[in-house]
């Protein structure tokens, strides 16, 4: 087996096994810190051993065994006040692998703990990406536009609080579930977005594992809470976005914008499922939350067979509804993109100018500005905006796309 094959096997195992491993270790040892460290050490051991020994026939089982051993080693090292009985129990705990359903629940348990309301929202997202998503601290720091050291401290503090304040490791009771779910949805949406627009020079432009994981977990929550409109809305939003995944990156690894995508390459089954969910929510007759509105916007896009058939007035109306719920600058930026189609690039550019203070560090702001300036024939300004966007963009496909658009300015 070549070095590349082994590296791929490790990457794949990481994507498939990380959350399961952390969740099972947390259950067994009752400590997120030990679970995270042992999982990380197990993968480090795989990186060291698999190239020489070969990839084990069941990588998940190998990692589980290794991680358990690492965790026990650490507990032994730290726990000189030896609780011998407990240690013996851990050593001889050779339970057969749990059935799939139980493992799914285990991950859900991990999610609800990471998304506990006693933790700040930014902490919940960071912790979930680390513990459930298996992202590294630098990846998470980049997703949040904060320094690595800051992000590291945030995660460390969160784990310490969970332990000291005894935040429980369980799925909330039915009565608490609705209140706990919205925090989880925000986290899953962020995981999805990190997958959809993955960052890092050596990272695939789209990390299907993360988008798939976000969708899988959102489906799981929908199964638990079929009446919750926002759960349905988020699932629809993810499906309608995921449906365009393959059309969104060209064979040469370049981002393909919505208006240039081959709409025949969209996943028709995912589009149909997303549209079904959006219709279900419309029929419910309840005022929609932000995910339902975002899903509806995506339903409008995916209903148009050709970009010229897009009902832009509907898109702008939905964004107006969304701005009332969530007056964030990112929503205002996306609204401006739709406004450019409806009212022209000058109007959109004026709207963008008002966002400069808050979004000057965000690549999409400069990319949008560059495109509007290009359409208005302001070549010099467009080039400067593309330069800024390229400098800030972390996604390889996006960088390639922006570079081409800049170089085509002439």
């Amino acid at each position: 087996m070549s070095v590349v094959d082994v590296r791929e096997a490790i990457t794949q195992a990481h994507h498939e096994e990380w959350a399961r491993l952390v969740a099972a270790l947390t259950r067994r040892f009752g400590d997120l810190d030990i679970a995270e460290e042992a999982a990380a050490e197990a993968f480090a051991a795989a990186v060291e051993r698999w190239p020489a020994d070969g990839v084990p026939p069941n990588p998940g089982a190998w990692l589980t065994t290794t991680a358990n051993r690492k965790a026990i080693d650490r507990i032994r090292r730290e726990n000189k006040r030896d609780d011998k009985q407990k240690e013996a129990q851990m050593l001889y705990d050779d339970d057969p692998p749990e059935p799939l359903d139980a493992i799914d629940d285990e991950r859900l348990r991990l999610i609800f703990t990471c998304c506990h309301p006693a933790l700040a929202m930014e902490t919940r997202v960071a912790l979930t990406l680390r513990m459930v998503g298996g992202l590294t601290v630098p990846e998470i720091a980049r997703a949040f536009l904060v320094q690595e050291a800051t992000m590291g401290r945030r995660i460390t503090r969160a784990k310490a609080k969970i332990k000291a304040a005894r935040i429980p490791y369980r799925v909330p009771s039915a009565e608490d579930l609705p209140a706990r779910v919205s925090g989880v949805l925000a986290v899953l949406f962020l995981v999805f977005n990190e997958g959809y627009l993955a960052t890092g020079p050596d990272t695939d432009p789209v990390r299907h594992d993360l988008t798939a994981e976000a969708i899988r977990l959102t489906r799981l929550i929908r199964a638990l809470m079929p009446e919750d409109g926002e759960v349905a809305g988020l699932l629809a939003l993810m499906l309608l976005t995921e449906a365009r995944r393959t059309a969104r990156v060209s064979a040469s690894g370049e981002l393909v914008a919505l208006d240039e995508q081959d709409r025949g390459a969209w996943d028709a089954a995912l589009v149909a499922e997303g549209h079904r969910l959006v219709r279900e929510r419309l029929a419910a007759g309840v005022a929609p939350g932000r995910y339902q509105i975002l899903a509806a916007i995506n339903a409008v896009h995916t209903s148009a067979r050709d970009v010229r058939d897009t009902d832009w007035s509907q898109v702008v109306a939905l964004y107006d509804q969304l701005v009332r719920l969530d007056p964030s600058p990112i929503i205002a930026l996306n609204r401006a993109v739709a406004v450019a189609e409806l009212d022209g690039p000058e109007v959109a550019l004026a709207a963008l100018d008002r966002l400069e203070d808050t979004l000057a560090g965000y690549h999409a702001y400069h990319a949008t500005r560059a495109d509007l300036l290009r359409r208005l024939g302001c070549t010099q300004k467009a080039r400067a905006a593309y330069d800024k966007a390229i400098e800030l963009a972390g996604n390889t496909a996006e960088t390639a796309y922006l570079t081409r658009r800049r170089d085509q300015l002439g």
């Binding site: 506990h116 309301p117 006693a118 000291a164 304040a165 005894r166 935040i167 429980p168 608490d176």
Partner: protein, 107 residues
């Protein structure tokens, strides 16, 4: 597992008769549920004395060690299996005494 539930206020002993009745009813519920450990109201920070005997010669200073606008006006110590239960009880306590409260675990 025990938690300190601090009552945050900018004055002390200021509970109205209605609030006192609600606090008593809440205390009864704590006892009935096996959550009660201890509770009490505190005098104002201006009645505090700071003692430093680290050098072996006790030094007394009039007043609180930290001047803040809001401070701990009273507290509960509750017994709860985990933070979810503690937060629920603290939410009830906040409602009963009609003040903000802070939950902190004992080590």
């Amino acid at each position: 597992m025990q938690y300190l539930v601090s009552v945050i206020d900018d004055k002390t002993g200021s509970a109205t008769p209605t609030e006192m009745a609600a606090i008593n009813a809440f205390n009864d519920r704590l006892e009935a549920g096996g959550h009660w450990v201890f509770a009490g109201g505190l005098g104002s920070p201006s009645t505090a004395t700071v003692i430093d005997n680290r050098s072996g010669e006790a030094l007394f200073t009039d007043g609180p060690f930290l001047e803040t606008k809001e401070y701990i006006a009273g507290f509960w110590i509750i017994e709860a299996p985990d933070l979810d239960v503690a937060l629920k009880l603290a939410a009830e306590g906040s409602k009963a005494c009609n003040r903000k409260v802070e939950v902190r675990p004992f080590l």
